[in-house]
Amino acid sequence: MKANCWMGKGLVQIQDVPDPRILNARDAIVRVTKTAICGSDLHLYKGFIPSMRRGDVLGHEFMGEVVELGSGVKNLAVGDRVVVPFPIACGHCSQCERELYSLCENSNPNAWMAEKLWGYSPCGIFGYSHMLGGFAGGQAEYVRVPFADVGPIKVPDNLSDEQVLFLSDILPTGYMAAEACGIQPGDIVAVWGCGPVGQFAIKSAYLLGAERVIAIDRFPYRLRIARERAGAETLNYEEVDVHEALKELTAGRAPDCCIDAVGMEGHAPGIAGAYDRVKQAMMLETDRPVALREAILACRSGGTISVAGVYGGFVDKFPMGAIVNRSLTIKSGQTHVHRYMRPLLNRIERGEIDPTFVITHRRRLHDAPEAFEVFNTKQDECLKVVLTA
């Protein structure tokens, strides 16, 4: 079959690889109909996530049709149309029982690698490095789905692929980021980053009762989509001092909740941005936490900072003093997708959210390498690429 493979830093290629087969009784094989490129795929593309190997099949946002089932999967049938959550979870360990699916203790066969970097291992993830399991991803014609009796959700025929595809990752991710804020009536939420996750965080914050949502980015087209499609007020950090502007917009109260939907490759104008770029290039720091620092300093005392953006390793100049002295709470985590798929599918069915508004580019799987570059360099006002396999 054809699959989009990581071939080295800055290089992905469509390769011929063997078709996947059932390896475990709880596996399913899914014929991929639609898959997407995630912002976090760009961290892999640019070589910021360790333990990638030439030939790794990428992709963790995908859906399709069940074509084969292992003997242990009783709740699916061949022919079912399913969306697959990006975290792999066994459904039976103590973390899964607490619905903390991205912390599944049994789904990362290479857990020892993650333990070296992070102390303990989170779950395995499709197409996302060897230290997160070394699982072939979904930017391919077929994919093997472990623990298929727990993860995939059947979707109704009256919803299109594009309407439900983002249940695999970015819609629940934006939603969980907003939910973690514990939004109270009257709360103002600030969201750093107007990529697809940021857009869904804005939408979700409103769904969860936020009074106002202020979105921060530097690309006018992304700010425009945040305003027009997600309903946010917007700030361009290249034009205004974000800290002062937020203080002004909130009449000095500061945002009650701050969401970092940027992650490890944050940009900042001036000295601070250059500082992190140099340190990252010299391998003295793995992540550039410019948005996170700003979010911490901008948050109301006693407020919550919710981190949806991906960080991989270590950050520098972390404003711990602000967190301690101003009673700030930081919440984070890879998304526990399984627990949000059903309720968010219901919201899509009821028309409360239409996730298709983030799609700007539609390509064939075959064109994935070109699509990676378009998305990476934000050419042609690219916000989200959906690939048809």
Partner: protein, 311 residues
């Protein structure tokens, strides 16, 4: 791990000396790069001083590492690597027009002398390290919590023939009678080791212990304790394993079984045990331990072998 004392004291002393030498040379290179450039006969221009200072930083860090862990051969090997860089640098300086060739050649000869000393020391340290690994008696303790009732976890463990399903190095365990079983393990290069073990204690839902019978090639014993985890969190499993391999090729084979990191191996074994009891299967990766890319495999047997289990 416990070691017999088989140190090469001379090598230890030599390593300490080399450590101090590294620091002294490094400080000179950093603090007096220009003067040093003149001494070794290369132009004291900006490029050369910068290179010498960088080499100085490297020397100081090598020296500190050696002083901190004088018995670890890898730091002395790192000095050998540094020496090779120095020689390459001096060789290229020899070709430069404005170099004082006699002085550069003299400096290169001095570095070659030090390199010989470094290699000697590193080899002696490596040898004693190997000897220690060969003669070691290994004791590993690891624990895991399994979200299943204690009766089920104990029941699974008390059937020794289940061990190869999660213990990576075991090929089979056959029950001979109520107390005795025959264990078969994989060694390096397709070799096999076999020994007979006897059950020495079995207290239901509390403790199981076994040891190899007198006269076995492999002297090993193990004990597992089971506790109910608080707050209905399942069962705590605590494992103690002892291996005292004999000398010779067989001993090296047994040491190889447990590799450089026996704790890691047992931890992986317990992780697989947890997967079997909680998830019902040992989940296979497409790229076990990064041995192959994360893409579907033609050869499923290869995936199982790399994962170290039979299904």
């Amino acid at each position: 791990m416990q070691f017999h004392d088989s140190r090469d004291r001379g090598a230890d002393q030599l390593a300490l000396g080399l450590g101090w030498f590294s620091i002294a040379l490094g400080v000179a290179e950093v603090a007096a790069a220009r003067g040093l450039a003149r001494v070794i006969g290369i132009p004291a221009d900006e490029k050369n001083t910068a290179i010498l200072q960088a080499m100085g930083v490297r020397e100081i860090s090598s020296g500190l590492a050696i002083l901190a862990q004088p018995r670890d051969a890898k730091w002395v090997w790192s000095r050998v690597g540094g020496d090779l860089i120095d020689i390459a640098f001096l060789t290229s300086a020899l070709r430069a027009e404005d170099a004082d060739r006699d002085r550069v050649a003299g400096a290169a000869a001095a570095v070659l002398g030090v390199t010989a000393l470094d290699v000697l020391c590193a080899r002696r340290l490596s040898r004693t390290g190997d000897a220690e690994r060969r003669s070691c008696s290994t004791h590993v303790q690891q624990a895991v919590t399994i979200a299943r009732p204690i009766e089920e976890v104990y029941g699974f463990w008390s059937a020794f023939e289940n061990f190869p399903r999660f213990m990576g190095h075991l090929e089979s365990v056959k029950r001979l009678d109520e107390r005795r079983s025959r264990w078969r393990a994989k060694g390096p290069g397709g070799t096999r080791f076999e020994w007979e073990a006897e059950l020495i204690e079995a207290v239901e839902n509390e403790r199981i212990a076994w040891r190899s019978v007198e006269g076995s090639d492999v002297r090993t014993s193990g004990a597992v304790r089971f506790h109910r985890a608080p707050g209905a969190r399942g069962t705590e499993v605590r494992v103690d394993l002892h291996y005292s391999p004999p000398g010779g090729a067989l001993g090296r084979g047994i040491a190889w079984l447990f590799g450089e990191e026996p704790e890691q191996q047992v931890r992986d074994d317990l992780r697989r045990l947890k997967q079997i009891l909680e998830a019902g299967e040992v989940l296979l990766s497409d790229g076990p331990a990064m041995w192959r890319p994360a893409q579907p495999a033609e050869d499923l047997e290869q995936i199982r072998t790399l994962t170290g289990v039979q299904q």
